[in-house]
Amino acid sequence: MPLCNNKVADDGTSAQPLQEGKAMVDSLIKVVACYRHLASCIGGCTDNSSLRRDLRQTRERAQTLALSCRNHLTARLRDKTLPEAERKETELLWVAFSSCLELLHADMCKVFTMVKHFSLANNSTMVQTGIQGGTTELAARALSLPDLQEAGGSTQTSSMEGQEQSQLEQEIAQVDRTLEDMELKVNVLRWTVEALGPQYADPVSTDSASLALLSIDEEAAQAFCSRSQVFAAMMLCGVAIFAVVLSVCVVFLV
């Protein structure tokens, strides 16, 4: 596989190898996050061949990224002339990378078992989970493409599925081997690595409007029953005010 220098932000010349490594690990984290979102749709009512295709492409992308990350980080950590501060940072990246790879491994194993159970070719029943939309945007995000071309809905035959299964199995074994290799080649002591970032993730500042809408939705879903109660209370208040006004008028008349 070609060693591609993948970065999240598209600046042509990256100054230090440290920034390169960080960018690679960041993009791997992004791809794994998208993969998880995609995997959660398997077996649901939106499970179709395009979802499977998206999954496959995301997975392949994750593999290439992982490979390049691993080579880069291994090379750096085995370099004895690395200064102390940079070594610490690289070790942090290493821990992040290996945890990411473990997440990917777990997700791939889950996808493997689920795909066996919910086979498209055999028209197995899918669970009605309430999801409606497609996952093309997620795949586009994962593959860093502005938009994804819609390959026509190709129906999956069972032989194609079988092929994909075996390929997935091979890739799972490969990730397994990668994890083991990593531990053998580079010795990073987990207890010496300290997190530099904050304990709490900063609330994402973009799109606060949709955030607010989402929280309203949540609360509305919870307080769904009490909406009618609120309405009844308002009615009662209106009636009471009306009665007060009437009595005042009566008093004035009399």
Binding site: A96, S98, C100, L213
Partner: protein
């Protein structure tokens, strides 16, 4: 990397969770558009989300499918909700099936409780971080505590966790809003099942994992046959008792002890395992001043019970002291000490016991018959742990047949019985129970308990045994005068 000391790939077997596969099949049957459960749309403020089902529909479908009554169907539905195959849309923390119009939805297969995947703490940390982002720092109390704990021990991964949470959050934004809401509900439901809020019981408590699949066929190697042969030989050699006899003994035991078991019967004042209040344990400490009535009742069941309870033994010791026959109990205790003590001090202990209790003219001479005395003295030439076993058994039988009966009729025992406390049962409200749960503390360290025991023993030794020869000489002196 998470430490993988168990080479996984599905090697952990949870035999009690075999029901999960069956529930999955039932859930898939419920999906059928014709014969399955009717689905409706859930209306939120702006959006509508399909595939919501009502509790009563679920109960009706189950009752119809399995030809049972409504109560049974409801119980089965609650089981499905407790496992996490269906989650409630309102009141999401209580995993029960309400047979009314409350709405539920099916969980996506990714979040089904699968048998071979352990629920990872990393995932939980990522979920909490995401939730923190969404709720802008307003996590629930127990979630906050868990978050802090995870931060402490998963510190090396924390940057990754925060980054992954942010990325998952941003990836979620790429989806349409109803899908985002559904995904959040799904994830939340998944974590309510696997990390239950405090005070709730999790259906995923299944006991220990097994290392070997009990349903797997074992290969018939010579080793396997060797094991089987050994096993069967031991079975044959085992002594056998008639089942009528053993069942009779079991029945007798259960009828005597059934009211004393804190799990089978209400224990006073309240069961600490249920109400998190430790009064029961403090009242029943080994060396408490006034024992409880139940404890005193247990002493009347058998002599063994009396001796095994430290408080009972102390009472018995007091009685024997009044009767001037304390040497039997002292000898018995010394033999126990020899049996259970350290190997290096064994020889000296045996010699000490011989000098104090068994030799002719010893200060605390015990009365055992000639044959036993012969065996013991011969054995003491080459002392080992169980050299005084015969003598100890003899003395034990003596105490049991003679002193025990007199003890139960003695004023000492009657006094203890009168002073015994019978605590009233507690009546805790919900809030008090929660407070009790928060105030849970670990019990006394075994080191401290051991120190207390040693102090007790030292006090006893210091108070001095009644020396028979001195008492006899005192009596003689009195007579002379």
């Amino acid at each position: 990397m998470t430490i993988r000391n168990v080479r996984d790939h599905g090697q952990r077997y949870r035999p009690r969770m075999a029901c999960l596969k069956k529930v999955e099949n039932v859930v898939l049957e419920m999906q059928d558009p014709k014969t399955g459960v009717k689905s409706q749309t859930q209306r939120l403020v702006i959006t509508t989300i399909p595939h919501a089902i009502t509790g009563e529909d679920i109960v009706a479908w189950i009752a119809n499918r399995f030809k049972t009554d409504a109560a049974e169907a409801r119980a089965m539905g609650t089981m499905m909700v407790a496992f996490g195959y269906i989650y409630p849309l309102q009141d999401h923390k209580r995993l029960i099936l309400k047979p009314d119009t409350s709405l539920y939805r099916f969980q996506t297969p990714y979040f089904w409780p699968a048998q071979q995947w352990l629920v990872e703490d990393t995932d939980y940390a990522i979920y909490l971080a995401k939730r923190n982002i969404r709720k802008k720092g307003m996590l629930e109390l127990y979630e906050q505590e868990q978050y802090n704990n995870l931060y402490k021990w998963m510190n090396h991964k924390w940057d990754f966790i925060v980054m992954q949470a942010k990325e998952q959050y941003r990836a979620g934004k790429e989806r349409k809003k109803p899908d985002r809401v559904v995904f959040d509900c799904q994830e939340r439901a998944y974590w309510v099942v696997h990390r239950p809020p405090p005070g709730t019981v999790s259906a995923m408590d299944y006991g220990h994992d097994r290392m070997v699949d009990p349903n797997m066929e074992e290969k018939k190697t010579p080793d396997y046959y060797r094991r089987i042969i050994m096993f069967i030989q031991q079975c044959i050699m085992r002594p056998r008792v008639k089942s009528s006899v053993s069942i009779g003994a079991l029945i007798k035991y259960t009828t005597t002890y059934k009211e004393h078991d804190p799990f089978l019967h209400t224990c006073l004042p309240s069961s600490p395992w249920i109400t998190d209040d430790v009064t029961y344990w403090t009242l029943n400490m080994p060396n408490v001043e006034t024992p409880t009535k139940m404890r005193v009742e247990r002493w009347t069941f058998s002599f063994g019970e009396l001796l095994m309870d430290p408080r009972g033994r102390a009472d018995f010791r007091l009685f024997l002291k009044k009767e001037f026959s304390g040497e039997n109990l002292a000898f018995w205790e010394a033999c126990e000490d020899l049996k259970w003590g350290a190997a290096e001090t064994m020889k000296e202990k045996a010699q000490q016991i011989y000098k104090t209790f068994l030799a002719r003219g010893a200060p605390r001479w015990i009365n055992i018959d000639g044959k036993t005395m012969d065996i013991t003295v011969k054995g003491l030439a080459h002392p080992h742990r169980y050299v005084l076993d015969a003598a100890q058994t003899h003395i034990y039988m003596l105490m049991k047949k003679d002193s025990y009966g007199r003890y139960l009729k003695s004023p000492v025992f009657k006094e203890t019985q009168k002073k015994a406390v019978a605590p009233e049962s507690h009546r805790f409200t919900e809030t008090q129970l929660e407070q009790n749960a928060k105030r849970r503390r670990p019990s006394l360290s075994p080191i401290i308990l051991r120190q207390q025991e040693e102090e007790q023993k030292a006090k006893l030794a210091a108070s001095g045994p009644v020396d028979i020869t001195q008492v006899m000489s005192k009596l003689e002196r009195k007579q002379k005068n």
